[in-house]
């Protein structure tokens, strides 16, 4: 398994990035975790609809996004808030979406991130189509799609991989193998030795990377992105990580996994690892940590405030986004409720 930084913060190989860049990545991971924790708390207070935490997967998501260009396409899932944010999706819109408001999906112009996919499978194909269009239109843009280990069992994974390979579209397939699809362990999901090994069947490169090593992920995704941009086609990256929290706020992981296993992964926490590395390099202090946390809290609080201030959605808004033109007026619904 590819990787550059070990759990204890020691380094396997010369790192291709500076300590300053490491600090930036770390700051991003702290900000993402702050959002994650805040969201869990808000959901418990009834302020958000069901929430799917990404705790433990920050390295995979921040590392991947950091490897992309600003205008690349990103097509991820309900668990990819950190990835999406780092690729340009404002926190305030992510929060708004989670309160149960479609306006959270209205990305700013120039941010080429699709609103999170809730179905697992279908969205991977979209990344192939987006990348294909960019290639045909002669742009440099590529598309990255993120999905879980469970999603690799859907037929759409197969069709997405095959299409991308056949048309040599500039697509990066990033699987965050976090050990579970809700309650179902990866070891049962497939009898393939690894998920990366599935790439072979499509004639594309497959790489297995330590998904809790932000630098390892960054490097792996950058290589895949470079290949894509050079016209060498798609790649599959399996980032091996762990979902430290429940599947969603509605889930109870004690029904299907050992506390011991989860505890085991705590030492492999992706934030801890960077912190240890930075400590060794003299790039981390208690004060800085406190500063980061405070700054992150403020940013997230602001996003939450903004989102919670958005006026209640109206009936007209609900009806007004089916088509470009509002082609069916509510009065065509003969129950008379249009008067509401």
């Amino acid at each position: 398994m590819f990787g550059l930084v070990n759990s204890d913060g020691s380094v396997r190989d010369r790192l291709p990035i500076t300590v300053e860049d490491m600090r930036d990545l770390y700051a991003d991971m702290v900000e993402a975790r702050t959002y994650d924790e805040k969201s869990m708390a808000m959901q418990r207070q009834g302020r958000l609809a069901t929430y799917a935490p990404f705790r433990g997967q920050e390295a995979a998501q921040i590392g991947a996004a950091a490897a992309l260009h600003e205008d690349d396409w990103v097509v991820g899932t309900y668990r990819d808030a950190a990835l999406n944010w780092r690729a340009g999706y404002p926190w305030r819109l992510l929060v708004l979406g989670r309160t149960g408001d479609e306006r959270g999906g209205e990305l700013p112009e120039g941010v080429n991130v699709l609103p999170p996919s809730i179905t697992v499978g279908g969205h991977m194909i979209h990344a192939g189509g987006l990348a294909w269009a960019e290639k045909l239109q002669g742009s440099e843009r590529i598309a990255l799609t993120s999905f879980g280990d469970g999603a690799t069992s859907e037929g759409d994974f197969h069709e997405a991989m095959n299409f991308a390979a056949v048309f040599a579209t500039p697509t990066v397939f990033l699987c965050q193998n976090n050990g579970y699809a809700i309650s179902y362990p990866t070891a049962e999901q497939t009898k393939s030795k690894t998920i990366a090994a599935k790439a072979e069947g499509y004639g594309m490169p497959g790489v297995r990377v330590d998904g809790n090593d932000v630098v390892g992920v960054l490097v792996a995704v950058r290589e895949a992105a470079d290949r894509a941009r050079k016209g060498e086609g798609p790649s599959l990256i399996e980032a091996v990580t762990y979902r430290m929290g429940p599947h969603t706020t509605a889930d109870d992981p004690t029904r299907y996994r050992d506390e011991a296993e989860s505890r085991d992964w705590e030492d492999r926490d992706p934030l801890l690892r960077v912190r240890r590395l930075l400590e060794k390099a003299g790039g981390w202090t208690d004060e800085w940590q406190a500063e980061l946390e405070k700054a992150a809290s403020r940013v997230i609080e602001e996003a939450v405030e903004w989102a919670e201030d958005v006026p209640e959605p109206t009936f007209e808004q609900m009806m007004g986004r089916v088509f470009a033109e509002r082609s069916r007026s509510p009065t065509q619904q003969p129950d008379g409720a249009a008067d509401e």
Binding site: T99, G100, T119, S153, I182
Partner: protein
């Protein structure tokens, strides 16, 4: 007798089916270890073992296609799809294979399987978790579509579905899973697939509903009765085969009808019922059949659910419209 809610009644029915028929197996995403996202299969993997109750990979076409093969080979699989919004990857299996093997083989091979699908909105869930697309299934010749709205019916209809020699799509109203309790016999009993259930008799107007919308429909009926309007309430229960005779008999009596569903209006199953009524008893109709339905838009997220779902007031208003004319 046991006082059970709809979820418990379903769990009990599956338990009964597993214990009384060796050919019954359950399969689906997360139905084993966690007992399903709605806990409908809770405890059954422990009780019957992982050779009867299977967690599967995340692959809906695979689940239905595998259940189909098992049914042909003599078993009685009961598959769970996690939410109706995730049932579409299996749509091809349902319409092209499950619904057709009897026809394709002139009765030689059959597919007596049940596909359980939690459906409907009202719980403030994420996108795709609130679907009510029964109409796209009720248009398929060769599958039966059943929707219980009470714990008692839930048990009886599910046992009937598992026994049925043909495939049954069994739609479970999510927001009723834990809404009402009812005394339920512990014995093995069946509720016939087909006939509507006249839940309340009346002479002025008939309200037709199914599944989760029965709650609002009943409330509307009670409110109308308080104004001395005599309301007949019919739980359609089986969308296909549709009990046209039962529907027509009621409207011939009352002369007025309201059909309630939460799916969008256009092409919803309410159209079939309204079309049937005007075909078969136009001259008894005192007013147009009213449809009270969801809007022709994507089922919205939590904050807009109130705009979308048909309300008790809308049903009352529709009934009044039929009475005014």
């Amino acid at each position: 007798m046991n006082e059970l809610n709809l979820a418990q009644a379903l769990n009990g029915a599956l338990d009964t089916a597993l214990s009384s028929d060796d050919r019954v197996v359950l399969l689906g995403e997360d139905i084993g270890r966690t007992g399903g996202v709605f806990r409908i299969t809770d405890g059954l993997a422990d009780k019957y073992g992982t050779d009867r109750v299977f967690d599967t990979p995340v692959a809906e076409s695979g689940i239905v296609g595998a259940a189909f093969g098992m049914a042909i080979a003599g078993m009685r699989p009961v598959a769970e799809l996690q939410f109706m919004g995730f049932s579409y990857p299996a749509y091809d299996q349902v319409i092209n294979h499950v619904a057709r093997i009897r026809n394709r083989s002139n009765h030689r091979f059959t597919a007596p399987l049940v596909i359980r699908i939690p459906y409907g909105g009202g719980i403030g869930a994420a996108e795709h978790h609130s679907e009510s697309t029964e109409a796209i299934y009720a248009h398929i010749p060769g599958v039966k579509v059943v929707v219980p709205s009470t714990p008692r019916d839930a048990r009886g209809l599910l046992l009937a579905a598992i026994e049925d020699p043909d495939p049954v799509l069994f739609l479970e109203p999510i927001r009723l899973y834990r809404a009402i309790k009812e005394q339920i016999p512990e014995i093995y009993y069946r509720v016939d697939i087909g006939p509507v259930r006249v839940e309340r008799q009346g002479v002025d107007v008939t309200l037709f509903g199914w599944g989760a919308m029965m709650k609002e429909t009943r409330q509307a009926a009670s409110a109308l009765e308080e104004e001395d309007i005599s309301v007949e309430v019919i739980d359609v229960r089986t969308l296909t085969p549709l009990d046209r005779d039962g529907i027509v008999a009621s409207v011939e009596k009352t002369g007025r009808a309201v059909v309630v569903h939460e799916a969008p209006l256009t092409g919803g199953f309410g159209a079939e019922i309204a079309a049937t009524i005007q075909e078969q008893c136009l001259y008894s109709l005192l007013a147009p059949v009213q449809r009270v339905t969801g809007w022709d838009t994507v089922f919205p997220l939590k904050r807009s659910e109130g705009h979308y779902l048909p309300s008790v007031d809308q049903i009352i208003a529709a009934a009044r419209r039929t009475l005014e004319e």
